[in-house]
Amino acid sequence: MARLTGRGFGKVRPGRGVVLLCAAVYFLLPLAASVIFTVDVPGQGVNFDVYEQILGAEGFVSSLLLSLELAAATIALVLLLMVPAMVALRLGARRLRPVVEIVCALPLVLPPIAFVAGIATVLKWGPEYFSTTPLFQTFVAVQNPDFPVVLVLAYTVMALPFVYRALDAGLRSIDVPTLVEAARNCGAGWAQALVRAVLPNLRGALLNASFLTLALVLGEFTVAQILKFRPFAVWIVGIGGSEAQMSVAVSVLSLFVTWLLLLAIAAAGGRTPSPTTTEK
């Protein structure tokens, strides 16, 4: 090969090595440096104290629990909304497919910061216009700091593009109409057909969608910070000012845990998460 075209092809090989090496350095160095930063205390040598302190840190457990609760609620809500709709699109409502596709892509056009600006405005309507109506209680309830429902709503919207793609990929690989017909012919009702015939075949896609949503919620910062709630990511930034080392340690841990989870799904599902943009 190389001989036919002379030096042109000869260049590719060392070039590739250099490119891969640069990429490896660029992508691995910050991770390695972060780990070193957390264990190598200037003047004290290497120790792992900071990782031991994490659990006892003020706010760590409560913010992590809040994030996990939010994630669980978001996953439940987004799957409850999306799975029946997506299955229905495969069965009969094909004409609605472009509508759902566009609806699920809409959050990509609204950056999170713009989205939360809108939400903050709506939340201000509560005291301004509805303070004398029963609706006011709803406004108060969705902003309960112990469990801010408004964040669940926002995260569900933000997760739609991911979940749409994950489910779409899963549904594409199975023949939903035949499965449902078969279940129906065996005497199953619609709900039964969905739960016992379709969902088991979608296990991979459901898992994928759930973990993408989990990662999104655990790492979400923009919406929560602007609305002044204090889930995990906001807490990390909060302690960043006073305890740099701990914030880096928690970041490293959360990065690794998230990535391990996602890599595990990717490896299990044999496909990479789709190139969507979320919060950066």
Binding site: P30, G92, P111, I113, A120, T121, L153
Partner: protein, 332 residues
């Protein structure tokens, strides 16, 4: 996004599969008298009716989703639009519709922030495109399947989930007391992470993987025959790239650029956690204005700025989708 064409195909295929199966057995359970209210050709009655019945049921399953999006997405979006065009009189407190906020959002400090964001996004997207292309080409041409899978999987993860942890990883590496900064005395050499170039370096951490994901299918679509044909006609490698590969890749590259641009433009968490508000960026300005940090009563300007952002993001999508479709032609 090729979902459109694929979806149509799959839909058509599904029709073929369903209808014959549905006719003989499923009719008695699925057809109800209610469907006869719809006018339809009598000849295809059983099949058409069972199909229609399912469509009605299917439509119902989509309703909660649409209702939810209308509530949780539509209302904030409309509120943003409404607020962006609502002008409050500072003296009387009366509000009326006007373009004062929108005008304010493209002037002074806000204009600086918009330009800063556009510059940062364009600059980092351009670098991301080049680096992503090189990395993707290196991975695609490599024969190692393991390397390919590893890079693509890692890209999927890195492109989507950075945010706050990523910012802190960079602070630990290249921040004022970061690992590399201390080891290499970078501060003395004029390096600062909390600057335009520092942010670019951090943004590339998720932009390059995004580019790898976007461009890999296009690179895989480059057929060996084209390269061989060019070579047989006496073209050098450089000529092949200039006259064959790059023109074919052009829509994908441009599409990748806008996608990266949009991603960098919308990024907030990384910048907020890393630099605070020392760099003029539109996302940081919106956050400041919303929090009333700078001036009280700037909330509506924040909404106008958000509207500006939505316009840019919409423009990005409007450019990206046709390009994506165009480049998909070559991948068939």
């Amino acid at each position: 996004m090729t979902a459109d064409t694929d979806a149509t195909d799959a839909g058509a295929a599904a029709t073929d599969v369903t209808e014959p199966g549905a006719t003989p057995t499923a009719t008695d359970t699925t057809v109800t008298p209610a469907t006869s209210a719809h006018p339809g050709p009598d000849a295809a009655a059983p099949a058409a009716r069972s199909g229609r019945r399912r469509r009605v049921g299917g439509g119902l399953a989509v309703v909660p989703l649409l209702a939810f999006v209308a509530l949780a997405f539509g209302i904030p979006a409309l509120a943003m639009l409404d607020g962006a065009f609502t002008v409050k009189d500072p003296v009387t407190g009366a509000s009326s519709y006007g373009v004062a906020n929108v005008t304010a959002s493209v002037q002074g400090a806000y204009l600086t922030a918009l330009i800063g964001s556009v510059k940062l996004s364009a600059f980092s997207a351009a670098i991301g495109v080049v680096c992503g292309l090189l990395l993707a080409q290196a991975v695609v041409t490599s024969r190692s399947r393991v390397l390919r899978e590893a890079v693509l999987t890692a890209s999927g993860v890195l492109a989507n989930f950075g945010g706050v942890p990523l910012a802190f990883a960079f602070v630990a590496t290249l921040g004022n007391s970061g690992f590399l900064t201390r080891r290499l005395d970078l501060t003395d050499k004029g390096w600062s992470l909390y600057s335009f170039s520092g942010l670019t370096l951090a943004y590339l951490y998720f932009l390059i993987p995004l580019m790898v994901l976007t461009i890999t299918p296009a690179l895989e679509g480059l057929r060996t025959q084209w390269r061989e044909a060019a070579r047989n006609n006496g073209a050098t490698n450089a000529q092949y790239w200039r006259h064959v590969a790059l023109p074919v890749l052009a829509p994908s590259l441009l599409g990748g650029f806008v996608l990266l641009f949009g991603s960098a433009f919308a990024a907030y968490a990384t910048a907020a956690a890393m630099v605070g508000s020392s760099i003029p960026l539109v996302t940081l300005q919106i956050a400041d204005a919303l929090a009333g940090n700078v001036l009280v009563g700037q909330e509506n300007v924040a909404l106008a700025l958000s509207l500006d952002m939505v316009l840019v993001a919409g423009l990005v999508m409007a450019v990206y989708l046709p390009l994506q479709r165009r480049s998909a032609r070559w991948l068939a």
